[in-house]
Symmetry: C2
Subunit: 285 residues, 2 copies
């Protein structure tokens, strides 16, 4: 089986490292706009060779689109065009609405399986990839009924074999939930990092006074702008709604603090404490 | 040496556990409004005995105020009143302005050392206390020149001996910096947890779709309301300013997303990325 990884970064690279172990006979072809990334991926054993997209896709049983979501959108059509008749394309993008819409317009729609693994770190590039990023995590597949049974079976088997759990939903549901559960976390963290950096011109002060709590809350502010700007853009209706809800709650809490309303302050935080139950489930996973 | 710990929770308990190891001859007396906490602290070996405040303080060489900051404010006067002439009182509170002001009004001001360890977790109570919470972390001492040299020496020696690094500043500087570097992180996390809980009535959806990124950003939303409400209240001028700055940046970013301004979106996040340098320093500590 030939598998092409388009974008040998954190997600594409981690996918390849996990799958290689379960499918030692599979051959991995790397495609990357950056030749440095291509060489890094070869050196790290992520792929067996690096080829241009036009050469790699026609040789592939499976093509994995693992670039930023704007590039997935641009590549979907040419990749489906170049794909062998019985080949399969899947993607690892954090948005699903526009990508699925773009796929729907293609005559080879059935060869595409829209996927999104619920996993990542604040780091990027092949150097950040590691074998255990995806195993044990959840995968969402959208519009499964639009995929050919053979393509769906191949993609499901690969993800299940590396130890992921699969959930199914529509692209619309996916994008709405993700705006709250993932995209908003990133924005809250980017803005927090920037607020502190703008106030504390003297970095030593942050350094001396920050504790692990700050470090944890602001970790996602290290994430790649090239990856996140197109996600926020493609999902902007939902992200804008989520961000609006968040700003409203912050304004409410600011009024509570300004008004010295200790009772409401306690109540606000007690309601938020409920997240403990949910998090304990996530951390047990 | 007799050391009374008023409030045998996360911080008071962790302090006692670390100091016991270095000062095996010290005798620890626990004081807690909750008799359950008192029994837990005894069972866990945090303290050697539990006494009412009125009995414990007159026996003490050192009294450590480790309650929520509103209770520290209430106890400071009676504790200084009850303290032996050569005794010392210190506190572990996350605000310093009002506490130092209250101390300044007391004839035994010089026996007080205002301290704040930059350490904590989202958990509370004696069950959450652990020996390694404070060692390697930073401690801020405020208004050192107002403390008697003997009291200052005793408190500094204890904190240095358990492996902390000491920094000095005014209460005003402390409260301003902490609003940005600690208090704001907690508010951003409480509000994020609540935004998601209010939208996602179905907890299973959060559970299935949240990744470690969400979990890390929202961890502080588990923190104790009883501890944080009085911190936000005592430091409300600075917290309100920090929260206002944060809301403004979020509104700016929302406009950028709504306006599909990808260039500004990239720029906003690239500026926030600068926090990586600071965090790497913190994580190396």
């Amino acid at each position: 089986m030939n598998i092409s990884i388009i974008g040998v970064g954190l997600l594409g690279g981690s996918f390849a490292l996990a799958v290689r172990e379960k499918y030692p006979k599979a051959r991995f072809i790397g495609v990357d706009a950056s030749s440095v990334n291509g060489r890094l991926a070869l050196a790290k054993g992520i792929v067996d060779e690096v080829k241009p997209l036009q050469e790699a896709v026609p040789l592939s049983d499976l093509v994995v689109l693992a670039t930023p979501v704007n590039v997935i959108l641009d590549l979907l059509e040419p990749v489906l065009d170049l794909l062998p008749a019985d080949g399969t394309v899947t993607d690892l993008g954090s948005t699903k609405g526009l990508i699925c819409e773009r796929a729907d317009a293609h005559p080879k729609r059935a060869r595409f399986v829209a996927a999104h693994p619920m996993a990542g770190t604040e780091n990027s590039g092949p150097g950040a990839a590691f074998r255990d990023l995806l195993p044990t995590k959840n995968l969402i597949i959208c519009d499964r009924e639009k995929s050919h049974p053979d393509s769906l079976k191949l993609v499901e088997a690969l993800f299940l074999d590396i130890g992921m759990k699969i959930f199914y939903m529509t692209p619309k549901e996916h994008d709405l939930h993700l705006a709250y559960v993932s995209h908003l976390s990133h924005i809250s963290s980017f803005a927090l990092g920037l607020t502190v950096l703008e106030k504390e011109k003297d970095e030593q002060a942050i350094f001396d006074m920050a504790s692990t709590g700050f470090s944890s809350t602001v970790r996602l502010a290290k994430s790649s702008p090239q990856m996140w700007a197109p996600i926020f853009d493609q999902n902007r209706a939902n992200v804008s709604q989520a961000l609006g809800d968040y700003i409203e709650l912050l304004q409410e809490f600011k009024r509570v603090i300004d008004g010295q309303d200790l009772h409401s302050s306690l109540h606000f935080m007690a309601r938020a404490n409920d997240i403990r139950r949910v998090l304990e489930g996530i951390e047990r996973k």
